[in-house]
């Protein structure tokens, strides 16, 4: 990819917004991840944080930007440099989800609206491999790509005030997991016992942008069993290295 595909915009006094073509694609995600790794590796930019979006990367600088053009030139050089950064390991994580009606409180409604049987919805949802594009909205909330078109369901007109932590849901063209109790307007189809955000852990969120997720259907009994194992710190998540 060449520089001309990217735009650089000043984002207030302390940030620069870099934008790719406005589409959701693995190619753009990989380009963003590589650029981010180069910026972190180079260490010649004093930044506080990097925020990823579907087609953007925002750099929050430590200090007010005095010479925007100069910073952009520096970024362009980093972007085009053939720097060999040590590639991070990306994983595919197996996430157990219980699609029982006890948790999948909107399954019946979306089944009626879509003419899909509940078991077909579950089959479609567990078939795809979902790419993590970035994490936002709430600590540990994954923005996933790869939902089957047949499972595109509009958000609920009236959001619920309290969606349970671990709820697996579909909102429009996206699917995701609520990492904590929160308000939310997505259609809830199941629940995972896995913690996507635990502040007490050294790495509060075990996944990262560029990783993949696969949902596996489990029974209510298995859900309770895994939930107990997690509580007792005995549960081991299954993961496969993607870039081996």
């Amino acid at each position: 990819m060449s520089n001309k595909n990217l735009t650089y915009k000043k984002f207030g006094e302390k940030a620069i917004l870099i934008e790719w073509h406005p589409i959701i694609s693995d190619e753009i995600l990989n380009d963003i991840l590589l650029f981010e790794e180069k910026i972190r590796f180079k260490k010649n930019i004093e930044f506080y944080d990097l925020i990823q979006g579907y087609n953007s990367l925002t750099i929050i600088y430590k200090n007010f930007i005095t010479d925007f053009e100069k910073e952009v030139q520096l970024l362009k050089i980093i972007y085009t440099s053939l720097l060999e950064v040590k590639k991070q390991n990306y994983y595919q994580w197996e996430i157990p989800v219980c699609y029982d009606l006890e948790f999948g409180i909107d399954l019946e409604e979306i089944s009626q609206k879509s003419n899909l049987q509940i078991h077909e919805i579950v089959k479609l949802h567990t078939k795809s491999i979902y790419k993590i594009f970035f994490i936002g909205f709430l600590p540990g909330f994954l923005y996933l790509g790869g939902l089957s078109k047949k499972l595109f369901f509009d958000r609920k007109p009236n959001p619920r005030l309290n969606v349970q932590k671990g709820s697996v849901a579909i909102g429009g063209k996206q699917t995701g997991v609520y990492p904590n109790n929160s308000a939310g307007g997505w259609n809830i189809i199941g629940k995972t016992p896995i913690n996507f955000f635990d502040v007490e852990k050294q790495h509060p969120c075990f996944v990262k942008a560029g990783d993949s997720i696969k949902f596996n259907s489990i029974s209510l009994d298995e859900f309770r069993c895994i939930a107990t194992e997690i509580k007792e710190k005995k549960y081991q998540l299954f993961k496969t290295l993607l870039n081996a």
Partner: protein, 283 residues
Amino acid sequence: MLKVLKSGFYTTIQDKGRVGFASKGIPISGAMDSYSADLANSILNNSLNDAVIEITLGACQFQFFEPVVIAISGGDFSPKVNNHRIQLNKRIYIEKNSILSFGKVNYGVRCYVAVKDGFQSEVKLKSRSFYPNITKDFIIRKNDEIPYKSFTNNLNTSKLSVKVNKNHFESEVLECYKGSEFDLLNSSQHQKITKQTFTISNDNNRMGYKLNEVVANDLNQILTSAVLAGTVQLTPSGKLIVLMRDCQVTGGYPRILQLTEASVNKLAQKTTNTSLQFSIVGI
């Protein structure tokens, strides 16, 4: 240790916030009016990252169980120590068992209580700033105990207080830059945004301030991308939201303006029904 006798309307502990965790979706947080928080810390020769108590519209009461030096900056809520009115922006020596209380609101919305070397509450992900599901609680409650280091040395006998420009609390004009989606707006929308007086709705808090007035909006949502404190979003209903310190790291509404850091601090001193105008100072 300080004990909370009255917790007030919305009281939290804040420092410079939680930076470096955006990739996990963790908001930055930090003092809403960082200018005033910095001032309180500076008066005590503290590090600017030392944790302060952020008080919203007074109504708090604290008891100090060890001697310490404090400074209060930001809004004036008639602070008193043992019922004697004290000045803002000045070193105040606090004796053991003293009670600090706040009464009538004279101006401003948020004030900051700094102690020498900062409050020593729990550090979570490199910050003491309160945030739901990250710190133990997201607000300070009655009977909470907040640790700090006892301090008995004389810092300096200076009786002077720092003068603060009232403009910080009174000016209705918020300086801003064009946001990344500003150019998608048409000229009548530009006009409306830069000429209209907006008012703050009662939906305003540490996450963001929703404004009352409507700007006709035909823009599509954008692919979810970064937002910052001071980002002004145009929602599908045509209402504007100015994001503040506890805002999410990403959003999907067009970003039409970006407030300067100074204007974010100014807005933090405003609340429901206050008027404001946006003034574009640069790209």
